[in-house]
């Protein structure tokens, strides 16, 4: 980052001192507005600092002595001048900001719709054709992230299954909170092919800083082939399918498959083991136990996890899917 | 008044209940009065959040509030309103007694006020315990009959909830016929109800402590025509508590 770029004018595409590249149609408008406020502020700032420095030097006590010469103590005229002029600039800022905001809130009617479900600490993206991708914790999950076509307006409907999260793509200058219990929306039209970071910008607990994902912008053709591929599960083995479900359904938010206890117990090497429950009894982990753990988690609670209930997946997983998950868990032994 | 500040203490004309940093009794009284009014302002804002919650949920879910309000006992609410009004009246009278130096009557009026306050809390207690018994509680409480999933209602509550489902038509809709989203919001109504009345109840109890303290001071002979500030200010607080109830009553009990 070269300091001389501080004043560089907005450019499309390339990164500037202030901003990452402008990868959406809205970005340049945000940047232009930013630079407008920036130059007004810079001017005001320089004016007040220069005035302060000049007065300080010119009227320093060592120079002018103890008693200053007479000068006016107030002037209504000048008070009005220096209230009205900044106020006018502020009106301009508000007005352009307002217009940009309205645009950024009203997607074109033909926009492509994607549903994004956020949970601690990952995203699940549901496409209209049934394709599902995930993106989240880079340490354990290599989810594909959000894949979108270039030059097409995209509306993302946000929801959250637990706490507040926020969908933030700096390259698009787009941000919106995902609020549990309701839907919120964000839209943008990417105009540059490439990969851009997607951050969670609302604090959501321990791994808030790990709730990272990528937005992959691809050409329309690539997108169409990708989307068609993505719903094709037929070539997956039950284990692979289970693994995918494990990520997509958000199990990874609580369960590690690498032996580390998280919010829930680690699940590798579980199958066939004797598990101790809170009441001290032991059960063998078999297909039925796992099925029950998914459909009615509170029926048999594992020792040490009495206070953190697992969410029930009844109604969210069908029999095939459960079998796939069981196959996957088995494969972890 | 003498010219130096430090011999205030020796000034024979200086009333003994005039604090060292005030010049006159009038100034002291005015200051206290302003202080208590500013305090009442903070109290109003303290309650504001709950009134805002109330407005917000009621304006968006009027049918929920109308339904849920049926579970409140209007008769008890009305009696409590009158009890509280009576206590306000006796406290206002007590201020008059203090100003006129009628110590015995002052004591008596304070006592009646205290008894009314106790009565109010007693009725409140009866109301609350009914609700706890029936499980007509806020959303997250395990025993509420408004749990989103009727299957989750515990056995001991089932019986009561069957009663609420009475076919005689006391309630516009039986609990079990409500859809889950509606049930959930009924829970919110009770959340708001308990918070509002609970916070108000806490204020009543603080007021009772205040009254007891005032009675003790009355007994000691603290109050007279030039020194009744504590009674006056205590009364102002008490009236505010009454004021809030004046709004709570129709807002919670009288939704049609």
């Amino acid at each position: 980052m070269n300091l001389l770029n501080l004043l560089a004018l907005p450019q499309s595409g390339a990164e500037t001192f202030w901003f990452p590249s402008q990868a959406s149609t809205g970005a340049s408008r945000v940047d232009d507005l930013f630079y407008f406020i920036f130059y007004v502020s810079l001017f005001a700032f320089i004016a007040i600092v220069v005035a302060t420095i000049i007065f300080s030097l010119k009227y320093s006590r060592s120079r002018v002595g103890m008693e200053p010469e007479d000068s006016p103590h107030h002037s209504t005229k000048i008070e009005i001048v220096w209230s009205v002029i900044p106020a006018l600039f502020m009106v301009a800022m508000f007005w352009y900001g307002f217009k940009d905001f309205v645009d950024s809130k009203n997607p074109p009617v033909d926009a492509y719709q994607i549903e994004a479900v956020s949970q601690k600490w990952s995203w699940t993206f549901n496409y209209p054709n049934g394709a599902i991708t995930t993106g989240g914790n880079p340490a354990i999950d290599e989810g594909e992230g959000l894949v979108i076509p270039v030059n097409k307006p995209v509306v993302v409907r946000l929801e959250s299954t637990d706490v507040l999260h926020s969908f933030f793509v700096p390259a698009f200058r787009a941000k919106m909170d995902a609020v549990p219990g309701r839907y919120t929306y964000v839209w943008f039209e990417a105009n540059e092919i490439g990969e851009f970071p997607l951050y969670c910008a609302e604090y959501c607990g321990s791994k808030h800083s790990r709730m990272l994902a990528t937005v992959k912008v691809v050409s329309q053709e690539d997108f169409d082939t990708w989307a068609a591929d993505a719903i094709d599960d037929s070539d997956l083995s039950p284990e692979e399918r289970g693994k995918k479900l494990f990520a997509v359904k958000g199990c990874i938010a609580c369960h590690s498959t690498a032996g580390v206890a998280g919010i829930g117990p680690a699940l590798d090497g579980l199958y066939g083991k004797q598990e101790t429950l809170v009441d001290g009894t032991k059960v063998a982990v078999d297909d039925n136990y796992i099925r029950e753990s998914l459909l009615d988690p509170q029926a048999k609670v594992v020792e040490g996890y009495a206070n953190v209930p697992m969410t029930s997946f009844a109604g969210q997983l069908d029999d095939d899917e459960i079998s796939a998950i069981i196959a996957y868990l088995k494969s972890l032994n | 008044m003498s010219t130096t500040a430090n011999d205030h203490g020796h000034d024979p004309n200086r009333p003994k209940h005039l604090a060292h940093h005030f010049e006159t009794l009038g100034q002291q009284f005015d200051s206290g009065k302003l202080g208590i009014w500013v305090f009442l302002l903070t109290e109003v804002l303290f309650f504001s959040a709950l009134f805002v919650a109330y407005t917000m949920y009621r304006s968006n879910y009027p049918e929920v509030f109308q339904y849920a309000s049926q579970f409140l006992d209007t008769k008890m609410g009305a009696i409590n309103t009158v009890v509280l009004l009576l206590s306000s009246f006796t406290f206002a009278w007590a201020v008059r007694n203090a100003m006129l130096g009628e110590k015995r009557k002052l004591m008596l009026n304070l006592l009646v006020t205290l008894v009314c306050a106790g009565g109010f809390m007693g009725i409140k207690y009866v109301e609350y315990s009914h609700k706890f018994h029936d499980g007509t509680l806020w959303g997250g409480n395990a025993s509420t009959i408004f749990k989103a999933d009727p299957a989750e209602i515990p056995a001991e509550i089932k019986e009561v909830s069957e009663a609420w489902n009475n076919p005689e038509g006391k309630f516009s809709v039986a609990v079990r016929d409500l859809d889950p989203a509606f049930r959930q919001k009924v829970g919110v109504f009770f959340g708001v109800y308990f918070c509002l009345t609970g916070l108000h109840g806490i204020h009543v109890m603080l007021g009772m402590i205040l009254i007891i303290w005032l009675m003790m001071r009355t007994k000691r002979g603290d109050f007279g025509p030039t020194n009744f500030n504590a009674i006056d200010f205590g009364a102002l607080y008490w009236h505010l508590v009454d004021l809030i109830w004046i709004f709570l009553f129709p807002l919670l009990y009288l939704i049609t």
Binding site: E159, G181, R182, Y183, T184 | N13, R14, P15, L18, E23, T24, L25, G26, Q27, F29, D30, K33, L34, W37, V38, L40, L41, V44, L45, S48, F51, V52, T55, M56, S59, N60, T74, A78, T81, V82, L85, S88, F89, F91, A92, W93, R96, M99, L100, D179, P180, A181, F182, Q184, T226, D232, H239, D242, L243, I246, F247, F249, P250, L254, T256
Partner: protein, 117 residues
């Protein structure tokens, strides 16, 4: 300050209200309570809330003006009280309006995830 007096010994402070007035105010309050209970049982076709609030506000004014001495007090104290009501009003209006605007997003979600309505 204008009310700075120096004969601190025997000055008169406060305003004594006649007992008859207090009784009348109390009577008025009880009557208004009865009225509001009565109107509460009727169906006023959407006017229930305004009517109840008008009655409650009249009761509140009685308490403020007489029991709380505002009628005889320095007007500034009353202004403070009105100020608090004003701010609560602002608060209420802003939040109430806002919540109304985004209810649809909540209802859409509720229908899909919890069911009902």
């Amino acid at each position: 300050m204008s009310d700075h007096t120096h004969d601190s010994g025997e000055e008169h402070i406060g305003h004594v209200l006649p007992l008859s007035l207090l009784v009348k105010v109390f009577g008025g309050l009880v009557l208004l309570t009865a009225l509001t209970v009565f109107t509460g049982t009727m169906n006023l076709h959407g006017w229930d809330l305004p009517v109840a609030m008008v009655i409650a506000t009249s009761k509140a004014s009685l308490v403020c003006l007489f029991f709380m001495h505002l009628k005889y007090d320095k007007p500034f104290n009353g202004m403070i009280f009105l100020l608090s009501v004003l701010f609560v009003g602002l608060f209420l209006a802003f939040v109430g309006y806002d919540a109304g605007q985004y209810q649809d997003d909540i209802k859409a979600y509720t229908i899909e995830h919890i069911g009902g309505e």
